[in-house]
Amino acid sequence: MFLPGAIALWAAFLSLVASTFFYFRSVRGHQEARAWARQAYGLATTAILIAAGVLVYLIVTHDFRIHYVFSYSDLSLPTRYLVATLWAGQEGSFLLWLVWGMLVGLPLIRYAQHYEDRTMVVYNLAQISLLLILLRQSPFRFISDLTAGQVPFDGQGLNPLLQNPWMTIHPPIMFLGYAATAVPFAFAVAALWGRRYDEWAKASLPWALVTVVTLGCAILLGGYWAYVTLGWGGYWGWDPVENASLVPWIASAALVHGMILQRARGRFRKLNFSLAILAYVLVVYGTFLTRSGVLADFSVHSFVDLGITGWLVGNLAGAMVLGFGALLWRWREIPTEPGDEPFFSRTVFFVVAIAALLGTAATVLVGTSAPLITRLATKTSQVGPSFYNRVILPIGIVLATLLGTVPFLQWKGTSKDFRKRLLLAGGLAIAAGVVSLVAGAHGILYVMFLLASLFAFFSNLLKTWDEVRQRRFRAAGGYLAHVGLGLMLAGIIISSAYDRSEKVTLALNQSRQVMGYTLTFKGVDKPTPTAREAMLIEVKDKNGSTYVARPRMFRNEKTNQMVANPDVHVQLTHDVYVSPIEFDPGRLPEHGDTLDIGKGQTGKIGPLEITFDGFEMAGKHSETGKVTIGARLTVKGRGQTQTVIPAMHAAGPGEFTAVPVEILGFKGATVALNGVNANTGHVRLSVTGFGGGGVAKSAVLHQGNALTYKSVTLTFDDFDLSDFDPEANKINIGAVLKITGGQKPGEITPRFHGGEGGPRYEDAEIPGLPGVKVRTGKMDPNEKTVEIQVLDPDAPADQGEPMRFSVDVTVKPMIGLLWSGLVVLLAGGIMAVIRRGDEFSTAIAAQSGSSA
């Protein structure tokens, strides 16, 4: 255990316990204890911040003795990802949650007023439950079994999928949302405890809104992250980890509406107590689902079981007993007032909307928990995305319709311009719907959902406009949020129900038609050896406008994991989404012929005369520190003379890669520098692409097996190891082949020369077939097999295989509505947070003013 960190955690724990104790004393009438309780809370906050600071320090300074640092970071990570490592793992993310929890508590203490003592007792308990997990599974523990002085050189590194700018902002926002759900919970339990059933709803409404805004923002950022960088093809997959944040978000949205309802009508107290407790319990339940490993078989990114399952179950049980226990305890005392509103009233619509939201939450909850539920009854099973889509679609239609109607309803009836406004909004929605039908929308439920979303959009837009015109800017926040929601719903349904997708394999420089686009694979872009490869695909649409898509596919060197990033081309009406499937680097042409020449010497291959003029060391194209050797050649042929410089690049220790260079004027002809003999100053060149010398036939022969070419039968007799002595660096192997059936029976021995100077083939001509040669390929002395190739000048030269890249091309219509809707929703949400926060402070000020 790293002591400073562990001490900070324990100090935080003890301070929180003390704070809880003193708040409890204060509840019991010892008011002087409150000051101590606040101080203890401040101390705990400081200690948690120190703990987080210590962990960041350990990560940034690469203290790989620490298990957490070793597991999630390494020396190669840039600073921003080192800081993000704080929340990359299980323990760190609990710590981040706790940091937010403690920070949220500070304004909570300031504004809780007469609820403070009881609220903080409950709130502290929620923080303690998180802290207990960290004390059990400390981020500061050392790697076990290390003896003194043993420190790993380097860590295991951060999952390459997480090395992404979104990683630096998505989790912090998410955990702020989680932390904020504890506030309405604490208020609700405190209100039940102290029998003050009304004002708590007003006090915690801003916090519930904070949860809705931050969790909603985080969920969609996560979706956007998945969409633009992970290449999963979409922004939402109904994965348990996604669902675990969606359910509390929906419950919090229901809570916000319940609280507004209670504020306006002075009713529905029981509903709000239930919702506030439920939202927090769902967060704790989601934590249990995703952090305990119970769903490890069902999620693409559930965390590994760390042995904290018992604690998570304990926390869940604790939250449920505390919350629902308090509710049952006071249930009969909570005042209820019957109301009698007509159907077309905001009150009834809010209730129906809350019911629909809860139905959605329940659907997602049941679906996500399917493995746990079915484990009790039958075989462990899960449900697929179609379950969610099928069940939620009809609820969505109901919700969107309510959303469109409610702006023009009063709490107890309709507003006077109700009909006119709704007709206008409905008309606009139908007009937009007709446009989308012309554009190809189909499917009765989808179209209904689309119409309802458009209706919600236009209706809330009209209302926002009305509010702004009457200069009631603050009231516009809620409607503006719903304008965004309407846009988002429309974007979701259009982009997911009407997307088109096709898979295609593109060979280098060949064009293919895909859904009206012409795609041409232009090769791999790797400007520097350390850059991540991008595949260049030229995409040309029907109108002839062109762009270059750059999907990426590269291997993370640390983990050797393939990472694929899609290319998203954003347009006004649709996104073109190109996602990599598979990359085949192709095959260079088999070496047609080789030349071994010294400086100033000339060799002949086919119609070419090649002269080696000298070496070209580390030219201007090479990277500093990388060894590059080039050979300057003069190539004469068909009346042309040209200079070409094929080069070898150091690929690793003792390893070189040869890059073939084209010979102009001869289609498909290339020359490559394959070896350099430092002693003799000779270079070995391989030249491809001339009319003949291609592989006419090849086979792998066991001893005694035969291959027939034209009239000649070649039988593999044995290896010739007469000049094979690896210790003397003589790696010369021959394959003895018996010739039968031709005009001149006999024996030939093509050889392979390894060792000094690199590999070289010594081909053997088949007697009776002029120019036809036999070459050895792979040889396996243990299995007694040899691969032989028959090279015939009449056979076409091997062209190799071009590189090929398989991609999935998806056109997602109107997905921009989703993201722009999100921005509008957030803007409206933030306005609402400010408005409700102010309302509460004003109410408090008025109260203290009147009591003074």
Binding site: V151, T374, Q382, I395, A564, I581
Partner: protein, 130 residues
Amino acid sequence: MNRRMVWTIVGIVAIIGFVAFGAGAFKSNLTPYVSFQQARATSDAVQVAGKLVQGSDLFDEKASVLRFDIQDDHGDVMRITYKGLKPGNFHEATQVVAIGRFRGGALDAEKLLVKCPSKYQGLDQKASTS
């Protein structure tokens, strides 16, 4: 009957209807974990898990599907076809879970899950000394 009672009844009917609808969808969408043998014997959607047979994966360009084989603990091998994109950690996976129906000699997967080697396994062996 007063209005309150009407609403209560409408509410209860709506809730019962929704629960029935949801339960039906839930039941029809369940995919149980089964052995390869059971998967071959049924036409229902199921899920199977096994180790990827290294080198067996191939992107079939003509059919636009990814094909690969997985092997269970008993050595039984099953061919999987998948229309979607290859998951990111596919080759490093210790286990591949495929969800779909068995059709024509292969499991036609709608969804793939890959499980990667736990970061916590073999940790102490990997820790080198300085």
